[in-house]
């Protein structure tokens, strides 16, 4: 971790620098809701969370919001259909392939598999072709904007990073690109809760409010990462923001307490009741009703 700058708006901060700032991000607060020990583990190993799914998301973000940086950060994998690898059944398992990838990665590049590269480009094109999503991301605004603020209730220093901010539409909007396997309302609603997008929206809207950044909406571009690359533009409803704020307040109070005491406890050491989720009764009943003897 590195010291966080003073509260303010910081364009053009490299992602690695932003991640290293010692301040409460939405991701960290999400972990501290689970337990302070989980938060501490995340904080200590944040760089190792770059999974393949995350890489595709990052590539899509960069193509859409910072296309000039794409070639500096990403490169296609070695040509597995070329003469070096054509004779192998599993070219990515060969020593030669791994050596070539290692050389590219040593140069600071993220190596994207050919399928991922195609998906990232197709996803970007689908967003730009969407009549409203395309309009939002091409309006006056700023990409990858980092902000730092002090939470008025707890005094905790917080940080956030907008994929895109536009002051243009109906009071201004923070725009977040979400790559997903299913952008339909039913599925994405579950993703909002599962991944805490409602909390992220509440966190970012609060930061914008404290810093006086005109922002009336937290907007998510849900973009599917497989054909037909469906795109829907969602605005996080006020009820969901309120729910996020309730969780945020709890997380910030816990964060402040951990900072004060220097202690990061894990789960309870008591024996805890466990059952099945509330929906299980109805699910079992329905399943049995549908079966004939």
């Amino acid at each position: 971790m590195i010291p966080c700058p003073e509260p303010g708006i910081y364009p053009d901060v490299p992602m690695a620098t932003y991640l290293a700032w010692d301040a409460a991000s939405n991701s960290q607060l999400t972990y501290i809701l689970k337990s302070p020990a989980h938060f501490k583990a995340y904080q200590d190993t944040v760089d190792s969370f770059d999974t393949a799914a995350f890489q595709l998301g990052r590539a899509s973000h960069t193509l859409l919001f910072e296309p000039d940086l794409f070639a500096k950060e990403f490169t296609p994998e070695p040509d597995i259909t070329g003469p070096d690898f054509a004779s192998y059944a599993s070219p990515r398992s060969t020593k030669a392939y791994k050596e070539q990838v290692a050389i590219l990665e040593a140069g600071g590049l993220t190596v994207l598999k050919s399928g991922d590269m195609q998906d990232a480009n197709a996803l970007k094109d689908a967003v730009l072709a969407h009549p409203k999503a395309g309009k939002v991301v091409q309006s006056t605004g700023q990409a990858e904007l980092s902000i730092v603020w002090v939470d008025p209730e707890t005094g905790v220093v917080c940080k956030g990073r907008f994929d895109w901010h536009t002051p243009t539409y109906a009071g201004g909007a923070v725009v977040d690109l979400k790559t997903t396997v299913d952008a339909s309302p039913g599925a994405f609603e579950r993703a909002v809760f599962k991944f805490g997008y409602h909390r992220k929206g509440a966190h970012y809207l609060r930061g914008a409010r404290v810093l006086g950044i005109p922002t009336a909406h937290f907007v998510m571009i849900a973009a599917e990462k497989t054909p037909p690359y469906g795109v829907i533009l969602y605005r996080l409803m006020d009820d969901a923001v309120r729910l996020g704020e309730v969780q945020l307040d709890f997380a910030l109070a816990r964060y402040a307490e951990c900072q004060r005491t220097g202690e990061y406890p894990g789960y309870t050491t008591d024996v805890v009741d466990i059952g099945v989720p509330r929906w299980a009764d109805a699910a079992v009943e329905r399943d049995l009703e549908e079966q004939t003897i």
């Binding site: 009549p131 091409q138 309006s139 006086g212 309120r242 309730v246």
Partner: protein, 232 residues
Amino acid sequence: MSDSKGTSVAVFSSDKGFETGQRIAKALGKSDLVPAAYKGDKGLPNTLIALELASRIGASPLMVMQNLHIISGRPSWSSSFLIATVNASGKFSPLRFRYEGELGTEGYGCRAYATDADTGEECVGSLITMRMAKDEGWSTKSGSKWKTMPEQMLMYRAAAFWTRVYAPELSLGMHTVEEMMDISAGRASSATADLNAALEDEGILLAEVVDEETGEITEPDEPVEGNGELGL
């Protein structure tokens, strides 16, 4: 200020009521039993409103807090609480329900009814049918409880309609949670509608350039790129 039972506070009727209400709200806000929206200093304004509502309908503040939900930004009663409030009012016999039509058909429906305690008149509510649920779009949205528990929804809706015409002083003009969920489904909130309208307005797609001398509006040839303009 207390009612005849000496339990409720009309928060907004006097300075004294407001002061008393704040003391009660602060105490309630420290309880683990009240929902999150009423906890702590942030929940104090909500608790004051809950106290006022409790006073108006003669219910316990805790009951109001546990049964008042915010759906699409508007306060809404849980249906069971609304029925309980009618039953406890003493103005009517307990609400009962009468089914009509054939189960499984669109004509299947339910009415709520009760007897006026003063006059003995039977007060019969509107017939709510599955056809109405379909035509109004209540039963057609994804995940609708009208598909999985139609009888319960018919009773809840019949009770809500009944209360609105025979005892509006108990519902205070508010809808039930189930009604608000049906109403809000498939309809964009006003803020989302504003955003949609703004995005449909071609005039602000690109940052317009206004010639200060002529007033002529021109559009740049290419979309404006990020330049740090936050409109601050």
